[in-house]
Structures are given as C-alpha cells and as structure tokens.
Symmetry: C2
Subunit: 201 residues, 2 copies
C-alpha cells in the first residue's frame, strides 16, 4: 500500500491549524493592525510569495481566529439556553465554563478582547460579543429576580465585574506556572460568589 508523499505544506509543518496558531501569536504580539503579511511570512519561515499558498490574506486569518474564541462561547450558550434550574446555579456554571474556554483558547480570546471594530470582520465579532454579553446580562438579571444575588448589588455592575474578572485572566494567567484551569475557576467562583472574607474572622 502506497503511503501518500507528504505535501510541501506538511513537510514545513504549515497545516492550516499551525498557520492560524502562529498568526495569532504574531497578532497578539505586534497588534493586528501593526502586522504585515511580511511579518507573518517571517514568523512562518516562508517567503512573502509563499505565504499566499497558505492564506488568502490577513483578515481571513483574523476571522478564523475570532471564530475560534466565539464558537466556544456560543456552544456553551446553546447548552445553557436549554438548561433549567436556578439562574444563580446556571450563572455559576457559565462562569466556570467561560474560564475553561478562556484558558483553553487563551491566545484567541486575548485577540478577541482587543478587537475595536476597525473592519467588517471586527464589527461582526463585536456583534457576537454583544450577543454573548446580553445573554450573561439576562442571566444575572434572572438570578437577581429570583433572589439568588444580594439585593444590594446592581445586576448591571455584577455583570461587568464578573466578566471584567474573567477577561482579566488573559492578562496574567500562565498555565505553566502554578494553578490549573480548574484551580483557577474554583478560586474565581469562590471569590466572586461567596467572597474572600473568612466567615470565621
């Protein structure tokens, strides 16, 4: 049985997945707007003309990278829309799952959080982010209405603070040092839902 010869792409290790992953690294380091096709070619170790064999353009890579972050979040939203139970418990599950997605897809989520709406692709991603935010906001509102959230807390501020905290993880979390994704999710949820103050004190 003949083994297919490795394609030039495979020999160079540039399947679409590794192209995307290397490109996202460059976008996060130099900024998307500050990245040229030449920068991408250099990072991939190919000539500037060869890069067009791998990708039609920068914006297509951006779109795929942003989808990578957003698709994870929207799969979870679909699951949770079908779920029942107290809203505060659903909210806890959504926060835990968001931390896991963020850790699992950290470079993609980091890129998503920096999008400012400078192109059609960026505006489409912002639109999906707003839809996600609206889902969280609705869930927090429900939890407040059910009495699951302290009455003295404004649900709008709770939403902002919760996801401000979750998103801040992209700024400082390094999977190689210390806490696992589960440790991180546990600590974040204990702190945000039950507070850091010891009841004994």
């Amino acid at each position: 049985m003949a083994t297919p010869a490795p394609t030039r792409q495979r020999r160079r290790g540039h399947d679409p997945e590794s192209v995307l992953s290397i490109a996202v690294g460059v976008f996060n380091e130099r900024g998307y707007d500050g990245t040229s096709m030449e920068d991408l070619a250099r990072a991939l170790g190919v000539t500037k003309s060869a890069i067009y064999h791998h990708v039609p353009g920068k914006e297509q890579l951006l779109a795929r990278a942003l989808d990578r972050a957003l698709d994870g979040l929207f799969e979870m939203v679909a699951d949770e829309r079908a779920a029942s139970g107290a809203a505060i418990e659903r909210l806890e599950r959504v926060v835990r799952q968001s931390v896991r997605i963020l850790v699992d897809r950290q470079p993609y989520v980091t890129l998503l959080l920096r999008v400012r709406g400078n192109s059609r692709t960026e505006r489409a991603a912002l639109e999906r982010r707003r839809e996600f935010d609206a889902f969280i906001s609705h869930l927090v509102g429900q939890a407040a209405a059910e009495g699951g959230i302290r009455a003295d807390l404004d649900p709008a501020l709770v939403t902002r603070l919760l996801f401000g905290t979750v998103n801040s993880i992209t700024e400082w979390y390094h999977p190689s040092r210390g806490a696992s994704a589960d440790d991180l999710a546990d600590a974040l949820i204990t702190m945000m839902f039950d507070g850091l103050r010891s009841n004994a004190a």
Copy 2:
C-alpha cells in the same frame, strides 16, 4: 500693580496640565509607540515646531503621565504602611482607594496598564508597578495568615483576581453612565469580599 500679560501658552490653553492630558488621550487612542510628535502637535492644534515649546519630547510626557498614576498609588501605600488593624480591613481600604484613584486618573492608569517595558521610562514604571504588586501581595498574605481570608483560597490567586478585577475597570467604566466611583467601589468590595450570592438563596 501690573498684571502680567498672559503668555502665548496660556492664551492657547496649553498649560503643562492640558498638554499632558491631551497627549495621554492620544497615547491611549493610537498606542504610545504609534504616536508621533506630529500626531501630538495635531491634537494640540499647534505646528510641529511649536510643540517643542511645550514639551522636549514624547518620552518625557510618558514619564509624567505614568508618574501621575503611580504617585497616587504610592501615596496610599505610604499611608497604609503606617496604619494598623486587621490586614483584611487594611486590604479592603486599599482596594477601595485603588478604585477611587483609578476612576479619578483613569486615562493615566489605562496608559500604565499597557506599558510593556520598551524604554527606560517604561521599565522604571514597571519596576514601581512590581513594588506596588508586592505590597498588595504581602497584605493578602498577612490577611490569610491572620485567618481573615478563607483557608481554601490561594493568596497568590486572590491577589491576581482582586487586582485583575480592579484593573478591568479601565476597560468598561464610564463615569458619565450610571455608577459613581463610590457605587463602583462598594459593589466591587461587596462582591469580592462577601460574594454576590444571596445568603437567603
């Protein structure tokens, strides 16, 4: 008694304070590295040669802007180093005061949080940020040792999550819409210290 004639600077409304404030706005919008002296001149409405009457250079403006953020934080640190009482109470006061400083000096703190160490000025600012972080980290450790923080929470993660949350405010807080600085500080502290979950639920 003769009234001094207004200087050209004053007539144009370009005292050092307004130059700094306009420059920081431009740095935050375009990125410090992406800002030229020409961009600053345009924002100030002066010619490129006139800008050198206002400032010797970009990096000097950056240094003053970063000091504006850091000096506020270090005045608080000096006060708190002299304070006594339970560490958990001191931590709460430090978090509240940090939120106030951040809201009060939002553009300056936003700029500080984006510094990556690309110049001597940036490295000096990062050094002071690390000193501030070490102070917070020590205070959290003390609060944990005194039993003021839940025993199941890792103090290192508590430190990161607390200031991840505080710093996230620069991303979404707009003083003109809704919550005042005090409302914001109250909500953040209630949530982080006592948890968002209603004890009734």
